[in-house]
């Protein structure tokens, strides 16, 4: 029997603008099994990114439960949630969001600054992560010296360097050309297949979604399938 890595139960998320309430997710349920590669699709404003943020623990539901890797994320305090994020989730952004003043290795090493690892161990792990994404030869390059695809691969290395159980990706190919997008998707497939990472990916791109094992469609905050 497959255990679930992500369990979203009756989740509601309402944003407040002044006195107006804007419901984004409305009693949503989703289960992602361990080792799955799931794509979340849907039109703009459907709540894809909001759901992804809840799974990644960077936002909290208005009501309902978000259980990721056995932890009810909504019940954690702010600092416990930060610690949980550093250990359990790797986040891949659409625009890579690398720190421009840090080299590729230093960017990858960044999450490890929160651990008790020595500088040497941090450096070794960062180098390993860069090897996994095929960028060992770009270790000392700065983001401005890398192509978009390479930047995203560094961002993926940063996401996996702490060996999280879950990877969440918010349109990881949205800012890339077709060739680079293909490379990134292949890399994500490899991480799922070879490293058994559970991946939840938001995308608009049907070709990207096809690489996932399961596709879910959201519309107006409700999961259609």
């Amino acid at each position: 029997m497959t255990t679930s890595m992500v369990d979203v139960r009756e989740v509601r998320k309402v944003y407040r603008r002044d006195s107006q309430e804007i419901p984004v997710l409305d009693g949503l349920n989703l289960t992602v099994p361990e080792g799955a590669f799931v794509a979340l699709m849907g039109p703009s404003g459907s709540g894809k990114t909001t759901l992804l943020n809840l799974i990644a623990g960077i936002d909290r539901p208005t009501s309902g439960q978000v259980v990721v890797a056995g932890t009810d994320v909504a019940k954690l305090s702010e600092s416990d949630l930060a610690k949980w994020r550093s250990q359990s989730v790797g986040f891949i952004f659409q625009f890579y969001n690398l720190i421009p003043v840090l080299s590729a290795t230093e960017n990858v090493e960044l999450p490890l600054l929160l651990t008790r690892l020595s500088k040497k161990e941090r450096r070794e792990r960062a180098t390993t992560a860069l090897k996994v994404v095929g960028l060992a030869d770009r270790a000392h390059h700065y983001p401005r010296q890398l192509s978009g695809g390479q930047e995203q691969r560094v961002a993926i290395a940063r996401a996996i360097v702490g060996d999280p159980k879950v990877l969440v990706a918010d349109e990881p190919t949205g800012d890339l050309d077709a060739k680079s997008a293909e490379e990134i998707l292949a890399l994500m497939e490899s991480l799922n297949r070879d490293f058994k990472k559970t991946i939840v990916m938001v995308t608009h791109d049907p070709r990207a979604a096809e690489r996932a094992h399961t596709q879910h469609h959201l519309e107006k905050g409700i999961l259609k399938d």
Binding site: N53, S79, A82, Q87, F91, F93, V101, E106, L110, R158
Partner: protein
């Protein structure tokens, strides 16, 4: 410490902004340290004064002398213990020797102004009696009192020129009535005075005293009077009463007097009778506040520019306190650099002031010989720099602390 490279890299990101902020901070600390050091030097000068000593001078200006006959009349005022004739000689070391004709043209230019120091012609016996802080070995005191050309010099002055008892030196005044036709005044070091470093720490030992009679005799008895009269009184609490009585004595004379405490005189002498401390502190405070605003604005800009990065850091697992700490640390580091620049600059300007011939002489002439950056002032200056950095970084850091990841990512 593992976050230090991260902080340094951020500071290097916009090096023009970082440099200008550090320089602004440095200017603030420079002004603070320099102004406080000047105040400390003035305070030190004023601290060496006594409440039981008064100075009587011409009511119009120090430039005008008072008749010698005033000494006896002041002595007769009730409450006056002793009176000493005093004239600020304004002598400096000349390059030529006694016996030559009066310096003219090229010769006059050979006066060594770079070694100017405070030198006074005094009525030695009463003068030294009213300054017990000057510690003179009895045999040297006796020798000094017995030699018309004798000079009493402070330990610091003796060390500066390597003078010892028995040495001879020459001084030439720039005040015309105090110059003699046959060349500079010759002096023989007969005594060296010290001051207790604990009880009288602020007593200046870089001055020189000689007999007023020597000045009078050597100038052909042409002197019309003395520069000032130092007056010791019986009761310090009656300083105001005695001062008024002395001035009343000469109210209807051609040379009216102004008598004040030694402290007030010293403050007036260095043109600082006004609220110098208030003025200097006011300037320092205004500059510090301005720099605080500039630095706070710089840090706010830096944080605003990095909203996405702060969101990324939080997403990666940095908690709000850690992110706040990074921002504050960056600002404090700016303060640290500014402090180093400011204190270094202040030390540099102090060195220049105390080594530049013209300025050094002017300061020495008014008794300020100890102008330097005090360790305490440097430590306080450094503390101010760190505080400014902290204060400037706190508000933007608080913003970073409170910001929500999703809000910051949404503004990309």
């Amino acid at each position: 410490m593992k976050f230090l490279p991260f902080i340094l890299k951020h500071l290097r990101r916009n090096w023009i902004r970082t440099t200008s902020t550090v320089l602004a901070m440095g200017l603030c600390i420079f002004l603070f340290c320099t102004l406080q050091s000047v105040l400390a030097a003035v305070d030190s000068l004023l601290a060496s004064t006594s409440a039981s000593r008064l100075i009587t001078r011409h009511s119009v200006s120090l430039v005008f002398s008072l008749p010698f006959s005033y000494a006896g009349r002041i002595q007769s005022v009730p409450g006056v213990k002793r009176v000493a004739t005093t004239s600020w000689f304004g002598g400096s070391l000349p390059a030529k020797k006694e016996g030559k004709t009066e310096a003219t043209g090229e010769e006059a230019a050979t006066t060594d102004w770079s070694n100017f120091f405070q030198n006074m012609a005094v009525d030695a016996e009463p003068y030294l009696a009213m300054y017990p802080e000057y510690e003179i070995p009895p045999e040297q005191y006796k020798a000094f009192m017995g030699d018309l050309r004798g000079a009493l010099i402070g330990r610091k002055l003796a060390n500066k020129f390597g003078w010892k008892v028995g040495d001879t030196f020459f001084l030439e005044s720039f005040i015309p009535p105090y110059r003699k036709a046959d060349g500079p005044f010759e002096f023989v070091v007969q005594a060296i005075y010290d001051a207790d470093p604990v009880k009288h720490a602020s007593t200046d030992t870089s001055a020189m005293f000689f007999h007023h009679r020597y000045l009078y005799e050597a100038t052909g008895r042409r002197l019309a009077g003395a520069g000032t009269y130092n007056v010791e009184i019986e009761d310090p609490d009656k300083a105001g009463e005695v001062s008024r009585a002395i001035d009343a004595l000469f109210e209807n004379s051609d040379a009216q007097t102004r008598t004040e405490t030694e402290k007030a005189f010293a403050a007036g002498f260095i043109s600082m009778a006004g609220n110098l401390a208030l003025l200097l502190n006011g300037i320092g405070l205004a500059v510090a506040f301005t720099i605080l605003l500039v630095t706070a604005n710089t840090m706010s800009m830096a944080v605003r520019e990095r909203r996405t990065e702060i969101a990324v850091l939080k997403t990666l697992g940095f908690n709000s306190a850690q992110v706040m700490g990074l921002v504050v640390a960056e600002a404090v580091f700016l303060g640290l650099l500014g402090g180093i620049v400011g204190i270094g600059g202040s030390q540099g300007i102090m060195w220049m002031l105390t080594h530049a011939p013209g300025i050094k002489d002017a300061l020495a002439g008014i008794g300020i010989t100890d102008l330097n950056l005090k360790p305490f002032v440097a430590v306080v200056g450094f503390g101010v720099a760190l505080f400014l950095g902290f204060a400037a970084g706190f508000v933007p850091a608080l913003g970073a602390y409170r910001s929500r990841i999703t809000d910051m990512l949404r503004t990309v």
